[in-house]
Subunit: 251 residues, 2 copies
């Protein structure tokens, strides 16, 4: 940063179809991440090298309507112009939905109060070409009422270690789930998770567990047991990424 140049802290809401990316987070030996692509586009467009902070990573194949990012620039270009040139340069499976300047202390990860994730399931005899990349196709009979009863066991503050793929560490695995709604609309089922934070793979493991309970492969009380013991192997499988979307981050 050169003397006399004031840095602007730019916040953006980003929407992406994660199908063809290797997840959000820039990785040393793995190209094709969304973070790296947007950083490169910003560099090309406004000639500044930036490091993007996001509300959190999303896995390979996971989508976002409302990923929140921020980064510092010296550019004095109008915000709408920055958004416009970046959107033109981005591939059309990524879009900057909104842009604003925020205080220098705003941090999209540390300041995130809660997040909403939505997992979509297509529960029908026949697959649907138009949502094949955005909903997990499950042609088997699902007991939705059983899933709704089981979902209630997640509400509140718990140790979600049993619903995480992360390696053991000293970090807390306590999280709060504020709401978990399962809505059936014809052949489409949407599971919405609202929580103060989510561990690695947590939504997908919670979803896989609910699906296996709906398929009557697991009893409802595996949830209670997995929450109590923190044992990953008690819970269900990790549902595939393409049904999942980061819908909103609240501050």
């Amino acid at each position: 940063m050169r003397d006399g140049f004031k840095m602007r802290n730019i916040k953006m809401i980003v929407s992406y179809d994660g199908s063809r990316y290797n997840g959000w987070q820039r990785q040393k030996n793995s190209p094709n991440t969304i973070q790296e692509l947007i950083e490169n586009v910003i560099h090309d467009c406004i000639k500044e090298k930036v490091t993007i902070i996001s509300s959190g990573r999303t896995d390979a194949g996971v989508h976002a309507y409302g990923q929140v990012i921020n980064f510092n620039v010296q550019s004095t270009l109008p915000l709408k112009e920055i958004q416009r040139v970046i959107n033109i340069a981005l591939p059309n499976d990524i879009a900057i939905k909104s842009i604003e300047e925020v205080g220098e202390r705003f941090h999209s990860r540390y300041n995130a109060k809660s997040k909403i994730y939505v997992y979509k399931i297509l529960n029908s005899d026949v697959h649907d070409p138009f949502i094949r990349k955005y909903a997990y196709y499950c042609p088997h009979d699902l007991d939705i009422e059983k899933m709704k009863r089981a979902a209630r066991l997640f509400i509140g503050q718990h140790n979600f270690n049993g619903f995480s793929s992360a390696k053991a560490s000293n970090k807390s695995t306590e999280r709060i789930i504020y709401s978990l709604d399962i809505v059936q609309n014809g052949e489409e089922i949407e599971i919405s998770y609202h929580g103060n934070g989510f561990l690695y793979n947590m939504v997908r493991i919670m979803t896989g567990t609910l699906i296996e309970i709906g398929l009557r492969k697991l009893p409802e009380d595996v949830i209670t047991t997995a929450l109590k013991t923190g044992e990953r192997q008690v819970a269900g499988y990790t549902a595939p990424p393409h049904g999942l979307v980061l819908a909103e981050v609240k501050y």
Copy 2:
């Protein structure tokens, strides 16, 4: 057909994402058509060589919720089983939505009474990663009321030669448009066409003309003039294929 074998006339409703195909109709020197792919899958699954009749071709990149096809087979397999094995063998951007056995005289093209096509436009400042393959992105100001007034000029029986890319022939270019509805839902605009039949590229040229009228590049009366004179160059441009879907065929 061997003696003693009764042919069954099978009718199917097919849904497809046309993005990666070279249109519906099998072509001699052009691979990757939807017709050829389904015929090959049927051959693989039930070991009979069939020729599929469809309600009509769709262009490269055009989608379908309700394309109707029929073909003759000797197979005595239950219908649901035929549907099941074909759906398993099809790529997941094509789906057989329903199957039934119909009378031997049923012909999906000759018996079609009318068709409904829907053209989708995204009219917003920012593109949308999730409908980029299913809606035409138009970021410019569209005068929807003007488009709705202009659309009324298409209703009824007219010579649609000016709205067709077909080469001159002796075939009639008279068609009836029963309804043409333009519905705006937030940033999405859907134009629904219901007619007794559509000439080659007709919906896309009608749509391109309506868009150019909405952009105030063309006056509304080009429609009247193009219908009266039959001159293709009077009408607007051919809107891109990916916004278009064959929604329903009525019999």
